[in-house]
Assembly symmetry: C2
Homo-oligomer: 333 residues x 2
């Protein structure tokens, strides 16, 4: 992984920090400290450091660990990133807005010999292939909504598969996943015509017993992002899908989208299966992964059991129950 | 429309020329001549001219009227485009590959005072909106496959609506449509995250009786392009859809995709309706538009009648029958 570590996780004044939290969850040894504005209500539980202090303590890169709505950096963040460069730190960003295109940051980084990593910038070109079935096996996590644990579930499954000696690799499709895995394709940043082609290149033909465990994106039921999701499903041609959901959320979760209801999980199973069978006639949803973090143990167990009975599929929470039952099934495919 | 006309339609050695044919069909007065390689088997029936000859005859721009597979210009085409610039012509291109990024063409055009038009390059930025229902009415053409007449059907419907005094405007989503209409968004060239947002901006809130007639792209049943299609459906929030198909084609049409069958038209109606209702609960497929150009009159009429009876929807061929029955229905919505 070429990005220099450890990281100073920059949160700014963002209301959410999926990227920072994800890297911290899966690569805690790479996370040295956090940097927040006084108004920031997030706390990752890391030591609080400024740029110079973090550099002195050994940090090598600032990781922009949160995504403002729409992906644009507020002006104050630009000022801070200048200070980070001056303090000797590289910057790694998963925002749509590219640090390397910025008229102030890029020349400053060049002058100081610092590196700006835009992990959303696809670092390769894609061509439209034949979409024939590829050898090897693929699992894709799919969502009832955005931000329901698709990346987390995929990482947990890959870890459990490896622990059992299975041949498995995590395939990252988003900025956090790429920062965790050190490679991948930010699928929502490719040109629309190449979504499925990029997904196909992300999980190339492999040994018959190898599993690619592919991080899902968006949701077929999300009015803004369903196109990305469908292209990823088609290009991934998954043998198995794990449906991820947050059943405690009555509406779609992100920002303005609470106009839209959460879809029914049975509809999700049906629609994802139907979509995936275009490129893999054997595709099926094999399990459900629920985020039950807002429930107590008893309510969570009840919900998992009820969902399992209703859908006829194993139902796990990767944090609360682990993903053992999912990997039991994968071992039989 | 800022592109200088009339056009010299450049076909090179391409096997297909959707763009050139589309502009010729709908704006014949803008098409002065064609330019082909000796090996080219296409013939648009226009006078054959070289670059200098066309410029002397009054042509103002070369229109790259065909798209090589994958979108990349062969080296010979680059040489020709240099000659076109030297002959005093601007160039308009609908390819993914951008003329303005080309290391030879861009400096040459600048030095000669010529303009390179990349009509696929989105000329605006998009932001993710709320996806609430917008005022006004929208029709979207949708496809069983690519290249089945979605643009042609939309243009024919808009022309018929205007002829009847209805308030209607064509909204272009592809390079040919943009070259015909003079405006639009090449929806497959936007960053994947913004497909639906771009589609929403393409058909903004309007008067209650205004119809946007939106050019469809791709197909929900095409393994490479379904993501673009789904995002366009969601962002367009169509009140009415017209399903376009070429029933004489047994497999998917474009290049390597003949691994894939044509979908059943009933499945198309069901799947497009289901997809569109995410953002418009009243969305429905109101008619079918078939390309029957490969059939004789009797076989075509039989097919149209059978399809109409089977699906319970009016079934037209814009060229053979006109789109009157579709516009009759629109007048009642």
């Amino acid at each position: 992984m070429p990005i220099r570590t450890p990281y100073l996780l920059f949160l700014g004044d963002a209301p959410h920090a999926k990227t920072a939290q994800g890297v911290l969850d899966w690569q805690p040894e790479l996370c040295l400290a956090q940097s927040r504005y006084p108004s920031c209500r997030l706390d990752l539980g890391l030591p609080e450091m400024g740029f110079a202090e973090a550099a002195a303590a050994g940090a090598r890169s600032v990781l922009i660990g949160s995504a403002p709505a729409g992906g644009r950096m507020p002006p104050a963040w630009i000022t801070d990133m200048r200070r980070a460069l001056e303090a000797g730190l590289d910057i790694a960003s998963g925002l749509h807005e590219r640090l390397n295109d910025h008229p102030d940051l890029k020349p400053l980084a060049d002058r100081l010999g610092r590196t700006l990593w835009d992990v959303r910038r696809p670092n390769r070109e894609f061509s439209i292939g034949a979409f024939e079935r590829r050898s090897g096996k693929r699992l894709l996590t799919v969502g009832a909504d955005c931000a329901v644990g698709k990346k987390y579930t995929a990482l947990a499954i890959e870890r459990e598969m490896r622990a059992r000696g299975m041949d498995a690799g995590f395939r990252a499709t988003g900025q956090t996943g790429i920062l965790i895995a050190g490679d991948g394709i930010a699928i929502d940043a490719v040109v629309a015509d190449f979504i499925a082609a990029a997904a196909a290149e992300l999980s190339p033909a492999a040994d018959a017993n190898h599993w690619d465990v592919i991080e899902g994106q968006g949701s077929l039921f999300h009015p803004a992002y369903a196109g990305v999701t469908l292209g990823l499903v088609h290009g991934s041609q998954p043998d198995a899908m794990v449906l991820c959901a947050d059943p405690t959320r009555p509406r779609l979760g992100a920002g303005d989208f609470d106009l839209y209801p959460q879809p029914d999980l049975g509809d999700c199973v049906r629609r994802y299966t139907e979509a995936a069978r275009l490129t893999n006639a054997e595709a099926r949803v094999i399990a459900v992964s629920l985020n039950t973090s807002k429930l107590d143990e008893s309510a969570a167990r009840t919900l998992l059991n009820e969902t399992e009975a209703r859908l006829g599929l194993p139902c796990v929470d990767p944090i609360r129950t682990g993903v053992g039952p999912v990997v039991d099934l994968l071992a039989q495919i």
